[in-house]
Subunit: 215 residues, 2 copies
């Protein structure tokens, strides 16, 4: 089973690495980080520089795709990753995303008429692609699976492992990465965080998120 | 504020990237991935190849250090990362670890007489370095902070942000990465997972974990 994670400049590192570490523990799985070229790809903070294992063209038929979010203005409306998603989706078993990666799936035309999620600040943008946004953390709609912001990719990938290999295998992977979360605050969603914190994060991140989809 | 994350061949990617994405959101923070050389460093699965931003010697006085776990047999008993930890700890504000990264802190002599944690399979090995293992997910003992296995680094880093910049900033970072965890199973610790799953993971991972500390 080949699992491909497409990277692009300014991707969000945890969006990719959370699912990576879950899926790489799946028996028989090969996880491949791919990008347009095999040159170094940098994350959104400019602090994580990754050498892709292969080009997009070299991975034409992955079984599973996981698209990370990030500042992907350079991929919209129809950049190399979006074009590749449209091509490989023809033969995938699962096509998935984390955070604003769902906007790339949308741009590829893969979420039209489907329920989907994204980072809470980007949810409404899903409607531009004909998707029906939901506030759920992980959304399955056929073979399309979308996760909410950044850290939700871990929850999504564990659910995917359960679908692929069964609950016991998924529990084993969860125990292996000791995923018994104990966040210090109950502030991980806009419904739960204090209003002042929501306003602050909204003001800080919305311009970046809105820049992700050209009007 | 400079935050250094030392990498070495066969590090666990999520141990490094979980805290990275939390700490990189801290206003005024610069996160630097460092390694013995600036050559590509590969993770434990061989699937994530990272170009470090600087060598260990080029980052002699970080304010905060976060040591990821992994298959670090090549760093024990006194490899380049261990030696660097001993040097930089003289001036850090916080010296921290994720997963078996605590064994590297131990090897550097920094946990003697301190309460600390690690991956559940490696807890007992902490005693070789004079540390007192605890089953807590995140342990603060003075300026030393250790986290349990892999995913616990996210919880640890959020607590650290709260100590450094206050609860509201930490809540903002948590909301930014939408950390409202919803694991599909309550199987993230050996106390909670089904016994058969614990036995399976133990059999699968213990030889690797035990290989991390030469007898």
């Amino acid at each position: 089973m080949q699992i491909a994670i497409p990277l692009y400049d300014e991707f969000t590192a945890l969006d990719a690495i959370g699912p990576h570490d879950v899926l790489a523990s799946l028996p028989g799985a090969e996880v491949v980080l791919v990008a347009e070229r095999t040159d170094v790809v940098s994350n959104d903070h400019g602090s994580v520089r990754v050498v892709p294992a292969a080009t997009l063209d070299e991975v034409p038929k992955p079984d599973v795709v996981v698209v990370p979010g990030g500042n992907h203005h350079n991929q919209l409306p129809d950049g190399p990753v979006v074009q590749w998603l449209r091509r490989v989706d023809a033969t995938t078993t699962w096509t998935t995303s984390v955070c604003t990666g769902s906007l790339l799936l949308g741009a590829a035309g893969l979420l039209d008429g489907r329920r989907a999620t994204s980072h809470w600040l980007a949810l409404e943008q899903l409607t531009r692609f004909g998707a029906e946004p939901t506030g759920e953390r992980v959304v399955f709609d056929g073979k399309y699976v979308t996760a909410a912001g950044v850290s939700a990719g871990i929850d999504m990938a564990l659910r995917l492992v359960a679908r692929i290999a069964g609950d016991e295998v998924a529990q084993g992977v969860q125990l292996g990465i000791e995923y018994d979360p104990q966040p210090p605050f109950d502030a991980g969603s806009p419904e739960k965080a204090p209003a002042a914190v929501v306003d602050f994060v909204d003001a800080q991140l919305r311009p970046m998120v809105e820049g992700r989809v050209p009007a």
